[in-house]
Amino acid sequence: MAEPEAAATFDCFGGSCAVFVSGAGETGPARAAVAMARRRLQGWHARFSRFLPGSELSLVNGNPAAKLRVSPLMARLAQAVQMAGSLTGGLVDATLIDQIETAGYAGELREPLELARALERAPARRPAAASRSAGWRHIAVDAAAGTLERPPGVKLDSGGLGKGLFADVLGEALAGHGAFAISCGGDVALGGAAGLARAINVESPFDGSILHTFERRRTGVATSGIGRRSWLDRSGRPAHHLLNPATGRPAFTGLVQVTALAPSALLAEVYAKAAILSGPHGASAWLPYGGVIVREDGSHDVLGR
């Protein structure tokens, strides 16, 4: 007999979040655990949004001091930014806030640009590369002391890394429940004490159809793409939120979406971003635990079924 499953879906992080919990655990019965997860996610959204001037992230980014005290979760985010840059050789750089705001992403976006239209007007395709300045290299975190050091001007972007991190942090809290799944705008952490397998559907960026379904007991999953957070910049050029660190401009590499599986949602997020920025020839190297690569022509490859 399966344990009762409680679930909630709600708007958060500029998209939609979902939480599923079965069985009782340290956080109480399933329904209470879902309510707790929802409260935490909405609280983190308020603390880590770069669009809210009073958020913890905005205050940290605007602080002129080189060394400052931060909350444990902010310290973990800073560590995640370091890890992503270090693991990908700077390909995944979460310190490009000035560049993305220059590209036109300085507030909540409305309807995304139609993907086919964006691809028609996009510049020549080429893989992204690391930035020379590499702001992530200059970040130092002392988690025990709760301090963050970085040169003034180096800003942290909670973006995709934050969603993966938050899914993992909630996953740690819900690990004692029979089964759980947390989806933070596409970044998913799932697991549970009962070891039940769960289906993970990968959605097409073109028509929303299901491209592939993985089945896992415990994993992190993340999907990164250029179809949703997209717009036309002031010059009428198509733009999106995945920047080429080398140019500071939106990267058009020939891929439109990559889904990555990894032991944690944060790692999956890093892999997915690194894969899409690497382009069709380098993407699969970033998917050691499997994933789905979607090209501009709509074709896709599934790795690690």
């Binding site: 009762p4 499953e5 709600f10 799932l190 769960r198 990968v202 999953v221």
Partner: protein
């Protein structure tokens, strides 16, 4: 019986017997009384016929409906169960991470046991609750599927 009839002690009214003439009644008055009685008898007969017809039709309709429902349930095609299962699978089995929900979001809760299946939801309040139960007592639905899409 004959003696009863002769004595006029039968309990059944004899409608064919000519009405007794009362003192002071003329032949015309007698004819009117007979006619009225005959009309009353005819009306009663008609009412009885209609009553029997309505009762028969009601019984036949009930029997037909009962038989239809019985056959459908006995053949394992309970429409209530299949509707609940459909609602349960659409609301609980898959949730997209990129679905744009407009207002305060929605919540749902599902539970499984053996024997029957039920589901209820409310749109306005942003909450719904689903419970799905399968027949065998051993089998149960697995965890809900999650959908990952670019955000």
């Amino acid at each position: 019986m004959e003696s009863d009839d002769l004595m006029g002690a039968t309990m059944q009214p004899n409608h064919n017997a000519p009405p007794r003439q009362r003192p002071g009644e003329g032949p015309r008055q007698l004819g009117g009384r007979t006619l009225a009685r005959q009309k009353l008898i005819a009306m009663r007969r008609r009412a009885r016929r209609i009553r029997r017809l309505v009762a028969g039709l009601a019984a036949a309709t009930f029997a037909a409906a009962f038989l239809t429902v019985y056959v459908q349930l006995a053949s394992g095609h309970d429409p209530a169960l299949s509707a609940a299962a459909k609602r349960s699978s659409t609301s609980g089995s898959s949730t997209s991470a990129t679905h744009q929900s407009s207002a305060s979001g929605r919540e749902s809760s599902s539970s499984s046991a053996s024997g029957r299946e039920s589901s209820s939801s409310s749109a306005g309040g942003g909450e719904s609750s689903t419970s799905s139960q399968s027949g065998g007592g051993e089998s149960s639905s697995g965890p809900s599927a999650v959908t990952t899409a670019q955000s």
